[in-house]
Symmetry: C2
Subunit: 455 residues, 2 copies
């Protein structure tokens, strides 16, 4: 009994130690396993620096509860110590009147930064940048710059990319990396450490996906954000870009699966929210798919005369949907990576037409073989005109798979042209489009081939 | 006429300038627009440093042609100057006997690095790491370390993360960031600039997706790769991680679309390769989907008695596929992000069962409304038992959508458990699974509800 007590105490002590000593990401993971309401109690007595570190993690789920539990003076100090982009996001979640109270007590510099950051639209470079930039005038030396970096290091999100400004206009002249500064001659001018190329920059309204592509293309660790007069308003750092890429690809996969993007981890989202994200598209697709029933009703006479045709409806429809889904996934990614632009639609069409015809011919042949083998082996009797039935199925597949590839590849372009996200061209969306038309193609082929025999 | 000539000369001269002056990523983009065979001629006369920069870009498509065109001495110097991971990838693409000739002439250090890197499996941390690490013994001071960094800067892929080694065993003790070194007291021991936490490391066999998650979680710029004795064998840098995340999400979307991942940009891949990547899965799905024809044959008697049932087959089947596709996309991403682990399958099942029932009830109600409205308005006559037909469709939808959600959410777990990539659970794969069972559910419901009336 005494042993157990002693062990518990030891565990408790080691836990208390962990709060300060553990990697902040691990601490946050641990905290997220508790209810948000428990966080203030667990973190009571944490040092202010550590509190700032915890709240700087976008993954931390109890930040609102934690900041609300602090005395207002401490809360303001913590907010000022946080990176400006995180402080802005956090303040946006705090309810009134507390939010206004906190903002009123912030130092003017932080308050301005927060006000500016809050104004940028979601998904823009402005919304993921931070305002804590290291910048020096172009007439400084390498040594002066390094000395300045040493002084401001603690208060800047990144010091690996330094903005060199025109001493008069304050406009961005160049960016210098810390790596080249370190290796440069201390008495040389700071610009001697810069590469003589235009600096990579973005504007506050650049889409964050576009920013991510720039990071990937130019292997950057941080990219300054400049306004129209080339004044530096902030900097985007690579850690935010990694989070962006993860989030964007999750959104793309979920949209491609035929639903709205969740915005939250699967296990955390509420049942009601989940239903809202899924039911909308599911109902829209269902209503679109109702046209298949209308199409079928239209061909009811043919169906009654040749029940054998119905046997292959699911097979044919799904083949069109599958080929469309393949083509869509290809084009969505090619557009997202910038491999293909809107104006390239006709190049894509010229590639997908032969692709669709080839794939359709392969599946059509498989379909004909299936019917022939079953008929020959006596597994099923497709009637005296079984050869014509096989021809109908084969020709139908050729047409539907080609149509599926074309529809699937063109839909993302059409959506982008209309101003929608091309990733909304989901597999179910394409399948629904192809299903209705596929039925019409199938029955039209049947009317031509079977007219005078079965129909 | 003279003007045109003069302009052309100017353009040519400015182009010649661009070769050295442009951002290397832009130069590579420009080169990639030419045929690979033209690259050696365009780049003739390029400085060796610049040549190394160009070849260090994984995006450059003519690297084999370029290195093969160089005199062997120059080729070897260029390879030695490249980052070891890129040199390894490039050597792997060069054909024999040239490859062996080049390897034989490399300096021993580069040769060893290349041999070691080539041995790591694709998709592992070892395959994306580089061997050019900055490491210092733990008994050095901050000042000594900074001086060392200045000397080796040019030959290291990253200098932002420094490995501090045990002076005796050479095992990794800590990592220090350049940022904290810069701000530290020059005479203090190097370890004083380290945070007193275990360093974030991976092993050469860690999956690169797992490495990417670590970068994201701990906001790292570089992560050392250590062997079982904690000796540093390389380092993974954030630019390779960004490329990894882009590639992995492209693969995931393409697989989810029901095809093999392309490995190459859409516009660059050959027609034959494209057919191979697409036809395999399309045929497999087609053969699976043939079971629908078998199921339909099984219910042929019922079909003949109640043609009205066939009208709703496409609608019902697609609803099952769509709900399955939603559930699959959710679980694939949750698994990829580590939000959900294999052992959580039952938690997911407990969430998807009520989700599926709710969504099924919504669609079932819509289906019943559709039939009722059409019947009432006289748009179509579903016969005297139309109420029973509506009940069959509604109940069928409830069952199939629930089954679709369950199948779609469990399939990625099953695939992962069997050692496959859960992302292979594509929308078409799920739809095929659900289609066959969906038909059986629909006809079974019909047999129960319509027995004695229509059937």
């Amino acid at each position: 009994m005494e042993d157990i007590v002693r062990e518990d105490e030891a565990t408790l002590r080691s836990r208390a130690l962990d709060l300060e000593g553990e990697h902040v990401a691990d601490l946050v993971e641990h905290l997220n396993e508790h209810e948000p309401e428990e966080a203030p109690a667990i973190l009571a007595g944490l040092s202010e620096d550590r509190l700032i570190e915890v709240l700087d993690q976008p993954e931390f789920e109890a930040s609102v509860e934690l900041i609300s539990s602090l005395p207002i003076g401490r809360a303001v100090r913590v907010l000022a110590g946080m990176s400006a982009d995180r402080a802005t996001d956090l303040l946006a979640e705090i309810e009134e009147p507390r939010r206004s109270q906190l903002i009123a007590k912030l130092d003017p510099e932080t308050r301005n930064a927060v006000a500016r950051l809050a104004a940028y639209p979601e998904g823009s470079a402005g919304s993921i940048m931070t305002t804590e930039v290291v910048s020096v005038p172009a007439n400084w030396t390498v040594g002066q710059t390094l000395q300045h970096i040493r002084v401001v290091e603690k208060s800047r999100e990144t010091i690996y990319t330094i903005c060199v400004l025109d001493p008069v206009t304050q406009a961005l002249v160049q960016t210098v990396t810390l790596r080249r500064l370190i290796a440069a001659e201390p008495n040389a001018p700071v610009l001697s450490a810069a590469r003589h190329r235009r600096p990579i920059t973005v504007t506050p309204r650049t889409d964050r996906e576009e920013v991510a592509r720039l990071f990937s293309k130019y292997d950057q660790i941080a990219v300054p954000v400049v306004d129209e007069r080339f004044h530096v308003v902030g900097i985007v750092t690579v850690d935010d870009i990694i989070d962006t890429i993860f989030e964007e690809s999750t959104e793309d996969v979920q949209k491609f699966g035929g639903m709205e993007a969740l915005d939250e981890p699967y296990m955390d989202i509420s049942f009601l929210m989940m239903m809202r994200k899924r039911a909308g598209w599911l109902c829209a697709l269902f209503i679109g798919e109702m046209l298949t029933a209308t199409a079928m009703q239209h061909f009811e006479t043919e169906l009654e005369k040749a029940i054998v045709l119905t046997l292959f409806i699911p097979l044919i429809m799904s083949s069109g949907g599958n080929s469309g889904s393949q083509a869509t996934s290809l084009i969505i990614r090619a557009l997202a990576l910038g491999e293909v632009k809107l104006r390239d639609w006709w190049r894509v069409a010229l590639r997908e037409l032969p692709s669709g015809l080839t794939l359709g011919a392969i599946l059509g042949t498989l379909g004909i073989i299936r019917i022939t083998v079953w008929q020959m082996l006596g597994l099923y009797d497709y009637g005296e005109h079984w050869i014509l039935v096989a021809a109908t199925v084969g020709t139908g597949l050729l047409g539907i798979v080609t149509f599926g590839s074309m529809t699937g590849s063109m839909l993302p372009f059409i959506l982008q042209r209309l101003g929608f996200d091309p990733a909304s061209a989901s597999a179910p969306f394409v399948a629904t489009l192809v299903d209705v038309t596929g039925l019409v193609i199938y029955f039209s082929v049947a009317l031509v081939i079977l007219s005078g025999t079965l129909l």
